[in-house]
Assembly symmetry: C2
Homo-oligomer: 461 residues x 2
Amino acid sequence: MDIRGYVESNAPEFFAALKEWLTIPSISADPGRHPDVRRSAEWLVAHLQATGFPVAEVWETGEGLPAVYGEWPAADPGAPVVLVYGHHDVQPVEPLEEWILTPFEPIERDGRLLARGASDDKGQVLFHCLGIRACLAASGQSAPPVTIKLLVEGEEESGSPYFADLLRRERERLACDVIVISDTTMWAADVPSMCTSMRGLADTEVTLTGPSRDLHSGSFGGGVPNPLHAMASLLAGLHDVHGRITIPGFYDKVVALSDEERDLLARLPFDEKQWLEEAGGSGATYGEQGFSTLERIWARPTAEINGMWGGHTGPGTKTIIPKQAHAKVTFRLVADQDPKEVAEAFQAYVHANTPAGLQSEVTLGSGVRPCRSPIDSPAVLAGRRAMERAFGKQVLFTKEGGSGPEADLADILGAPLVFIAVGLDSDQIHAPNESIDMSLLLRGAKASAYLWEELAASASR
Amino acid sequence: MDIRGYVESNAPEFFAALKEWLTIPSISADPGRHPDVRRSAEWLVAHLQATGFPVAEVWETGEGLPAVYGEWPAADPGAPVVLVYGHHDVQPVEPLEEWILTPFEPIERDGRLLARGASDDKGQVLFHCLGIRACLAASGQSAPPVTIKLLVEGEEESGSPYFADLLRRERERLACDVIVISDTTMWAADVPSMCTSMRGLADTEVTLTGPSRDLHSGSFGGGVPNPLHAMASLLAGLHDVHGRITIPGFYDKVVALSDEERDLLARLPFDEKQWLEEAGGSGATYGEQGFSTLERIWARPTAEINGMWGGHTGPGTKTIIPKQAHAKVTFRLVADQDPKEVAEAFQAYVHANTPAGLQSEVTLGSGVRPCRSPIDSPAVLAGRRAMERAFGKQVLFTKEGGSGPEADLADILGAPLVFIAVGLDSDQIHAPNESIDMSLLLRGAKASAYLWEELAASASR
């Protein structure tokens, strides 16, 4: 039986298993649901065993919630090792009154499966089990053509606080040649695509201090520096008239978009009006000159003031020169920018541009590294072929403007990332009535099956 | 008996009366003290009657606290009419633990009289009564050489909310040729001076609105305008590199300092280091290029951000593009700037500089008009001669960076202002342990006595 046929004929059992898993309310952010997160991990271990994984274990993570690890070695010990990443915890369900169903009682409607976690991320983890079975059925082998390792986290929706520690602790068992991420989205159901990069983050907080108390602006206004003016000037000066960031060296490590990447991004059917609607009804686009909106939000670094405060913020007028001004400033980064270098360059920029008479202090957060999968790398090419076989059409490339623990995986395990996922922006993940297109889950299972073949073939070339 | 002799020999009675008045805790900001504000008004009416004023009345002010009106006509009905302004309410006394005395039990120490209100403003109101008696004693007449009107407000420390209404209602009885303000300070005990202008105020609040909700900066950062960035740019753009305000037309109505004024200001023994200490330990001066610090804070208009807020202002990082940004912006104005015109010009500036995709709203406060007494006007020259006779040395000119109801007096009554006062910055008005130099109060009484002579002489020239 070929892959397509196996997936189709085993679809009912696949969805029955997924629905069973989705009944477990594994909300990592809710301490009252932590026993359910553990139950969810145990369910997955049992399912991996039933799938045929020789190794299937619950892994504890420091003070955190359990992950699941599975391993299915290839017959050939020289075959590539592929690590699949996903997570089995889910988002909270509030506001409950906006759900048309009970979040953990899955229902099918119009070809969609509705439940919290259906798309993010249980459905996308589970299609790999069906994919591996399909691959074996089609090949007639008892072991996959590559060694498959599966690491399914239990705290992704809570910021993965112990995940990097876990990766470092288990680096040897997790050693791999390729990391497959199944926790993102495609452009559209009829526009299959793969994510090829995620932006990182440098987070900072700035405080400018002037006088030791708020001053009366009648007595002192015009004679001493005002920390709020200085903050406004500092932050206004972060961008030049072309929307480029002025911090010296800021762009030095930015990997430029290739012509091919720009061409592929431009092929995505992007509706700017609809996007502006989704952007809270923003009235216009805005950003770095010379780049499209998708390039700006996916492939270019940015500086954002997330918050700013100082002085009198209550009702009425208070004619003061405030003693302090504060701002929270974050930078979205792209490969190969380093969060620490960018934060320190910003710190130097602030100090260099603080007027005489004021003190500046910049505190630096821990940051998130950007990640990037070159579209011409063997692993991405193999993934693309698998996706194209599953969808029967050309696969385009997207990027993501934010990121989770993906860069940690790539950095700590030292392997390239390939994004194989079939979620859509319209799945309403993190919102009421989360759902997933059931036919796309089956496409995902097929892409998974082809992926093992393609990665094995790619390695043997 | 000459003026000097009369004042000296009647000093004990003068201080006894003042101390009696100072025992009345006329705190206008404290509703529990409002009966005391009325008692204070009644005390002053009785004192004016005892001084010899033919007219002495309590004046009610709308919903507010009572003022006191006194009138002593000149014998010659063609003599100039002089209105003296002061106030009989006082500041609150908190923090009480920092007082070395009980605030309303006056004591003398090292030639100073300590009590709440001793300098601001009961002492400076009362020296006029002694001055008028001295003038009569010296001239041997039973009426002063000018018609003296006295208006002593009961709500100055609460923002004079009903004062302008009172002036309009009583405009006819208050009609005058000169207004004498006795509620300011001199440069120093050994540097007698007169205030010649007060800055006004235009007060505004700006709101920039972008998306209908806070946006995730990973998904949208770099693609839509950020209201906080736009606010920073707007406010940074308010000043050019020379520290001048960029709003078109902003300086059009500013009366330039004359060379004589600049020269007189430069003669004041200004200690910049000490001034910076008083400015909350500000580290450096800052302001419009081409002007001294005193010119900047007294004689030049300014723009100040009094408060600014938007987005995430709590602990930690929240990677949002905020939906709104807010700022409170006030302008200190100098003659002949108009608060409404300036506020509207700022409103136009904000609208013109709001990037596409954001909406701006600017609300305008009621503002305060600046006031100015030309140093070569007959009234100021007469006041200066009176002060110079009282102090026996040259009198310099100062200005004040803020203002109370003085511009309303000048505008509504249509008469020039002359500032005759003997308070010092070191009197700790509005703070614990307010006091006044008793010898300066007697100088004030002498200056008051000479003032009636000088104003009468000035009119007959």
